[in-house]
Symmetry: C2
Subunit: 325 residues, 2 copies
């Protein structure tokens, strides 16, 4: 019975995808990369293929910052944290002369960067904790509805990559469960991931702070604590994937050395595997950066891509369009 | 497009469920409890109902031990740990005179219980860590394929409650995502949850130990460490649900005080909510226990059930059949 339903649904999905998507990746220029992605989908989902993968094993993981949306000139969540410092500053007069808050208030990103991880941690816990999970979600949504990217002058949720939206949709249509696996805060992404990416909150994995169940007037609530629970980066990405999903994905998309271990782990499994690196090569339509960048550095993973047969997407040559018009 | 698919699928599911399941809960005796469950499904899934819940919000959580399968006379995972101690004993001669291992080797469950949480922790880390996640999964599967319940003389995976399998299936047919939220080890449940419950590994939440990514001959692997990561019990259940799912379920099933906070948190949300307690009242077909039991104690949650309008299932009178024949 269950199998019947799954099979019926997958046939339905396949027929819909055929009917609606003659070219499933219209924003991708024809070439090796696009053909390889299409070939991966064909061989893992077509009945009778020697690389066929049952629908329940079709799991794909996607980094977020720099893979699904732009992380330049600054991580969106950092911009959010700075804006939160500004909003909360009247209650904290001491912040005007205390780092990293002073740098945040003065918009001094160079100084902020020099405060290092410890500074970022202070900034995060001061601005992301102390409220209920429900309230935090609303704060994020409200901020995103008004915040504007400094150079593109559009909202951050419009800074998502159209070619990647097509990949998400293409994979989903073929029975894949798409997961975000990001170094960013999980609760920062969940309020909008379903609307923007078609990825429901339960398929978003990320960094987190601790929460605690408390009772306010007899009503239980989860309160966000100023204490790190998990940093979902580098070697912790496979750890988190295993903890949340419990099986190894068969496809992984990333753009930086923070995704190296995730790509290694996913593509080391048996059967057909897809590893993809988004290489930021387009200085006209976005920002070109890789080995020397302090944000989203891509160095080791770029070297490994050649050895391990990962696809390297050149945003400049492989993507006909980067953002929605 | 996405909405179209979701709607089509849900109509498909509904029509299938209508066609195949005249009585969706055949092992449940007619009465208030059964009717209330059916009424909950009808009002949350029928278009036009004032309590209609969109398909993506249909999340139900189920405790495992004592809710989906039997936890008497001992938690299955404890029996597994004891058998692991026996299997590993030749490599650990010191265990013959060291607690809690001595008690485990001698099958002295009373002594084992007196070793308390600290003893259980030692037993767990000694038997559940030190191998790759893949190897651990195989150890669990192998054990379950041969282990036999002491009084029922059948495998533990046959000790699941038929009426609850019907509930899982009934909910799933109506677009619900069913999650296990158990105090048991998440990796102890995942190897068989899909086959037995139709619940895929990514919908199993439980207690966990830490894992670490290591490279063996260039192949990345996750190794299980002898260190607790998370105990998924009591007030931590809502914490875990929020961390893994990111939204509040609308239905919760439990059987003990360990599920109290989960039931409170789920049923405190707005809109239609369902809280259900499985009350072990049948001393002939299973084991009758509640307020005084050291395993699966049900005391506070039973008092709260009346106040908060949770359904209390009497296994004796509400279930026509408990196990598969």
């Amino acid at each position: 019975m269950k199998n019947l339903i799954i099979r019926t649904i997958s046939i339905l999905l396949l027929s819909l995808s055929t009917a609606y998507a003659a070219d499933p990746l219209p924003s991708w220029r024809n070439g090796h990369v696009k053909q390889s992605i299409i070939s991966f989908i064909n061989k893992t989902t077509q009945t009778g293929s020697p690389d066929f993968v049952p629908i329940q094993e079709r799991i794909a993981v996607f980094d977020n910052d720099g893979t699904l949306w732009s992380e330049q000139p600054n991580y969106v969540q950092l911009v959010f944290a700075i804006d939160r410092v500004k909003a909360l500053a009247p209650e904290h007069p001491e912040w005007r002369v205390t780092q990293p808050f002073q740098a945040a208030l003065e918009g001094d990103l160079l100084e902020l960067r020099q405060q290092g991880e410890d500074g970022l941690l202070k900034l995060t816990t001061a601005t992301h904790a102390g409220m209920s999970t429900t309230d935090y979600s609303k704060i994020v949504s409200d901020w995103l509805s008004t915040a504007v990217h400094p150079t593109h002058k559009r909202s951050y949720t419009e800074m998502v990559y159209l070619p990647m939206l097509e990949v998400l949709s293409y994979f989903k249509m073929h029975g894949f469960k798409n997961y975000i696996v990001s170094g960013g805060g999980v609760e920062f992404m969940r309020p909008w991931s379903e609307r923007i990416y078609g990825i429901p909150p339960e398929q978003v994995i990320g960094s987190s702070i601790k929460t605690k169940l408390v009772s306010r007037n007899g009503i239980p609530e989860l309160i966000r604590l100023p204490e790190i629970n998990f940093i979902d980066d580098k070697a912790e990405k496979p750890v988190a994937i295993h903890q949340f999903i419990g099986r190894r994905p068969i496809a992984a998309f990333g753009n930086s050395d923070g995704d190296l271990e995730m790509l290694q782990w996913v593509t080391a499994g048996s059967g057909a595997r897809l590893g993809v690196i988004i290489h930021h090569t387009d200085n006209e339509r976005e920002v070109a950066y890789d080995r020397k960048s302090s944000i989203g550095r891509l160095d080791k993973a770029l070297d490994e891509a050649a050895i391990r047969n990962w696809l390297v997407v050149s945003m400049k040559s492989d993507w006909a369009q980067i953002f929605r018009k």
